[in-house]
Amino acid sequence: MSAGRRDPRGGSGQPGRPRHETEAKLRTSCLIAPDELVPEATALLASGYRVASIAAHDDGHAMRVVYVFTAGPPDRRVELQVRLDAARPSVPSLAAVSFPASRFEREMHDLFGIEPTGHPMPRPLVLHQHWPEQWHPMRRDAGPMPAMRSDAGPYPFVQVEGPGVYEIPVGPVHAGLIEPGHFRFSVVGETILSMKARLWFVHRGIERLFEGRVVDEGVELAERVSGDTAIGHTLAYCLAVEDALRIDMPEASARLRALLLELERIYNHVGDIGSLCNDVGYGLAQARALVLRERLLCLNEAVTGHRLLRGAIQPGATAVHRLPTAGELSEIGDRFEELVELATSNTVVMDRFRGTAVLAGADAAGIGTLGVVARASGLGLDARVAHPIPGLDEHCLVACEESGDVMARMWVRAAEVRESLRLVAELGGRATALDLTEARPAVLGGSGLGIVEGFRGSIVHRVEVDAEGRLTRCKVVDPSFLNWPALAVALHDTIVPDFPLVNKSFGLSYAGNDL
């Protein structure tokens, strides 16, 4: 992919190393034959890489699949590209060596019609059964959507049979203001034998919407991939675009962006801790958390002009109105400690959290979980350490718990809020400017990868930009896509009335998963 690129720095006059060296250090990309894929991938996985993204591309004359493997620290990114026959596209399945890969392959099968040969469960994943068959919406020549099928039978849920086993269907429409998802529980008494989550009710085709936009117009989409992760997704998108267009952002900009990312983490974690208390009926802590969350949203508005932090980050630019003051941060810190004290001093709350829905470390690793869920099960994965924002020299501590229960997921969040507050104070204190825009290089086109630790976990965006500066592909990976399967595993032997609490402790995005 690097072939044909010229030095993009042109007249920007930035001092520093030649860009292609940096890129070589960060990301290597090689085109391989389909039959080399499995051994190459196996070798990468064995040396500590994870499958960060698998994205198909319809180049018109041919299909192409880009496998992104990442590891860190130190930051390592490897891309394997496989070209396929457009007429009968198929790739050897990686399902035997990577569970996350098996999910990406099913997604790719639905959206592009690429056959993963040897996949143990090649069922549709993204598109529900009443979508038209053999119509793949991400193909260039997909055309207008045919009518939905009316003859599609019900979804083949696994039927658990035995004396006293019954099913509880919940959703996709729920009583609260939550996103749509259908959950099918097979239950004996109150104990969950199995749970099947049926998602993709809010599939918006957002990756397709990116295509053809100039890179600046992609921001408004990135901000809306998952409304609560505006900074996480926008930053990942902008880093990918800047990687593709060879825009070098100065350290001051990286600091501002890291600060915004932590502000997003703080308000979401505070909200989640409150919701955890609410789900065990502890209204007092929920009320306190909501007050604190509102305080944080007001701070967000003061800093960026938007309560959900939209509009602060653009490709090649970062701008805020002002920075949080030390006084504000210490006041928020005090109120947060009061909230945590209120929640954790209640023995009933602690009893509900402790030992509930344990996700073992081995399961968390095998499923490929990320973020809070992974760290609560003892996996020290954090993109802030593994893939720091280019130019950022600020280090953060990774909060880790071993027990893998609801309690651990709450403690991880609490520890992260404290660390985030420290980081915001530190980064804000070192800020030199509030509005930073880098000159765009004249030469456009290329591919780029952006990895960001959002509040849920590692977000990956991979973009390809044509010579006119228009996006030809943007692959979005929200950590929820990889974490959802872990919920069903953690629920084994949990009781039905604990499900909302467990679900909240995972805190996954439906929109970010469904795309």
């Binding site: 789900d279 009926g281 502890y282 209204g283 007092l284 009320a287 306190r288 007050v291 209640n346 909302p500």
Partner: protein, 323 residues
């Protein structure tokens, strides 16, 4: 079995019972509203007005009747049975006066089983439409009821042993005659046991969360999810009446002063005001407990109720030993 204090005319008894039923029909929803208000204030919110539940009931009564598709007559009859049973129990219980109509029949067992009748009717109604939630709620309600009812009976038995009668108005009247009883060990043990049972019977935190929107965690609400409109109104009213009755009973059994004994127009008025004050005090206390604790894990609820049962048994044993 018992000597009703004083000779009170039938008209006065009927009037007294009517006052009781009206007081609980209006007062039960007000207690719910008061508890919601206290909760809201404790959480730093303004909250809905205290009479909100009454407004909601009026709204529900005017709504169209919507029936679940597969529901039978059981589903339609249950709200009526619930409200009727609660009304009869209220009419004969010693709330405003110790001399209600049918007061001589207001045996501990009669009142407890009238309440149980409503519970069973709702559980059947939960099963009737054949939805997963109804069955789940009914199963949970019966599990809790199976432990709560014995604890309630045994706690009341402790009072009966002391007063040597199982007639509720007579127990209250006897307590009035022997004020020292209210501080006796068996009374205090029975009080704690009763409070635990009342929390379970009225579906309050830490047993059930009446304000939750999480279907999977519901007990009472899961049973009545298929109700809408006027029938939902009846179910809500029935629940509010049970709450009013239980709070009133707890108040009068352990702190009977102010009750009209025997009933006369002036005494009824005083009794009504005092009952409202006592029930409101209990409601505020319960709401404050609710706001400062969380809902127990479902499998811990039987432990809590078993604790209540043990306290009730201890109350009986203490009563027998110290007699």
């Amino acid at each position: 079995m018992t000597a009703m204090p004083g000779a009170v005319g039938l008209e006065m008894r009927v009037a007294a019972s009517t006052v009781q039923v009206v007081a609980v029909v209006v007062g039960g929803p007000l207690l719910l509203g008061l508890m919601a208000k206290v909760r809201a204030r404790a959480e730093g919110r303004i909250g809905a007005p205290v009479h909100q539940v009454l407004v909601d009931l009026r709204k529900l009564a005017r709504k169209e009747r919507v029936r679940a598709e597969h529901a039978s007559g059981v589903h339609a009859a249950a709200p009526i049975v619930l409200v009727a049973a609660a009304a009869v129990a209220v009419a004969m219980a010693p709330l405003v006066t110790t001399t209600p109509v049918l007061g001589h029949s207001a045996d501990v067992f009669v009142v407890v089983y009238l309440l149980l009748m409503g519970t069973v009717a709702l559980a059947l109604a939960g099963l009737d439409p054949g939805t997963a939630f109804g069955g789940m709620g009914a199963s949970r309600a019966m599990t809790i009821g199976a432990i709560a009812e014995p604890a309630l009976l045994v706690a009341l038995l402790a009072l009966s042993l002391q007063a040597r009668t199982s007639n509720l108005p007579a127990i209250v009247a006897a307590t009035l005659a022997h004020p020292a009883w209210t501080a006796s060990p068996e009374r205090l043990l029975a009080l704690v046991a009763l409070v635990v049972v009342v929390l379970a019977e009225t579906g309050r935190i830490p047993v059930d969360n009446p304000t939750t929107h999480l279907e999977l965690t519901m007990i009472h609400e899961a049973m009545v999810l298929e109700y809408a409109g006027p029938e939902l109104g009846l179910v809500t009213l029935g629940g509010a009446m049970r709450l009013g009755l239980l709070f009133g009973l707890v108040a009068n059994l352990f702190f009977p002063w102010g009750i009209a004994a025997p009933a006369s127009p002036m005494a009824l008025l005083v009794g009504l005001v005092v009952l409202a004050g006592k029930a409101a005090a209990i409601a505020v206390a319960v709401a404050l407990v609710e706001v400062s604790t969380a809902k127990l894990r479902l499998f811990r609820v039987p432990e809590l109720l078993a604790g209540g049962f043990v306290l009730a048994v201890l109350a009986v044993v203490t009563g027998l030993v110290t007699r």
